[in-house]
Subunit: 280 residues, 2 copies
């Protein structure tokens, strides 16, 4: 397994791969790898000749009040995990490589994909995500990009941006990987207290309650969201930031539940921000 820090070194390699007609799959991460990431890596390995993983905690996507400095980092352990998965190349650029002095370019995203859900609570976040992923795609030049559905809005934004910018890449979405008790895997779960960790599965339990009501015939989004809210609010330590029913493709809010409606939420627990979603 090779490790590369410099995008120009990466370009030399990617040119060779393309000339050799290798299919290249790419999994961008911020490290602190868990089974959710490793699932993406395994799907990528199956579908491509070369698997590239990036590890980079992107300062541009954190707000000034957010947890950039607290975000878990563990490069040695991450590299060990990726080695076991037989990843071909890990790209670990530094902040100086990514945003050198004089850096002056930002990808800005507008429209329905950034109207709701996380966007109003994280101003600048999706521009930061779009900017770093466009840079990573230019450095790696993969055929396929692997993203997890846990970050559903990120997937929608990156579909929009890659299509808008005519980037020649196929986006492969992979389902949310969960702990045995249903908690969606997240690097931020490490930051929960033991007590918080026991409470956290309430989010997915509540989403499943919502789904079961829909399965029983409820179609008003408002009613379904109210029931989900009740379940979560039983846990006094959990503070809901948002809870919305949207079209899973374009993220526009819906009042009537349909096939392809997604219910998504963000909530604080132990000062840790958790997100989860379910597609109906």
């Amino acid at each position: 397994m090779k490790t590369i820090v410099n995008p120009r070194d990466l370009h030399l390699l990617t040119r060779k791969w393309r000339q050799a007609k290798k299919k290249v799959g790419f999994v961008p991460t911020m490290g602190a790898l868990h089974e959710g990431h490793l699932d993406l890596v395994r799907v990528c390995r199956k579908q491509n000749n070369i698997t590239v993983v990036s590890i980079y905690v992107n300062p541009l996507q954190f707000g000034p009040e957010e947890d950039f400095h607290q975000y878990p980092r563990n490069l040695e352990q991450d590299l060990e995990l990726l080695r076991k998965e037989k990843v071909h190349l890990v790209y670990t650029p530094t902040n100086r490589e990514m945003y050198p002095r004089g850096f002056a370019t930002e990808i800005q995203v507008k429209g329905p994909v950034v109207n709701g859900l996380c966007a109003p609570y994280r101003p600048g976040h999706f521009n930061g995500v779009a900017t770093v992923v466009v840079k990573l795609l230019a450095a790696v030049q993969p055929d396929r990009l692997y993203l997890g559905q846990k970050d559903a809005q990120q997937v929608a934004v990156l579909k929009r941006v890659t299509q808008d910018l005519n980037i020649d890449v196929e986006i492969v979405e992979c389902p949310i990987v969960r702990e045995h008790d249903g908690l969606a895997m997240s690097s931020r779960n490490q930051r929960l207290t033991l007590e918080g960790r026991k409470i956290a599965p309430i989010l997915y339990k509540a989403l499943k309650v919502g789904k079961s009501i829909v399965d029983l015939g409820e179609t008003k989004a408002g009613n379904v969201l109210d029931e989900i809210k009740k379940v979560i609010e039983d846990e006094r330590k959990v503070k809901i930031q948002y809870l919305e029913a949207v079209d899973a493709e374009n993220l526009e809010p819906v009042k009537e539940i349909k096939r392809g409606t997604m219910i998504a939420l963000a909530a604080y627990l132990d000062n840790v921000r958790l997100i989860d979603n379910i597609v109906l």
Copy 2:
């Protein structure tokens, strides 16, 4: 010579070229081709196996008060000229291909490259240029990008953006091509009246007066600009928009003339906006 309208068709071809280790050179244009463009095409042909030219009048880089609708268009004649130059492929996307309904992504550029010169007079222009060129580069995926020094600020912006976004392309700058009387070639020259066309070479004459004063030992930028201004203002029909001395690389204003100082100007004549520059 092939003509392609759709970026996805282009991707299929560019993949083949890369696999065959062809060097691809790219000349982006807004059509209304003149010897300045053809010079870029000829340099490109010499340095690469494949030459791609795009013809697209990009609405995003025109302000609401600007000449988008008056901008000269002559596709048939342009294609004939490119055929004679043995161009391999012409990419002529439509507005619907480039900015379909729901398009929501913009490249924003900040910092010294967009502080002075054209930028304050053309708000949004360089973001529009950056957005379309990033899209064209993603569609064509060339090894080299050919740009003319007449649009010096555009060159500086695109160097910044391609470097910032880690796009694997080499930018080749080509000198300004001039008419016999010194007027910098421009598609907009077509829109001058006969009288205006006779007056227009004053801009370059004035820049050369400035250069001769520098050659005689003047180092104060203010003095050199004053002399240039005097020459241009002799022609009452010419209205200077800006006249600045800047560092040719980063476009920061300079007070002392040095090697690598550029004097750049924009002026209106017959309601047509002309730009020119000279590097000392």
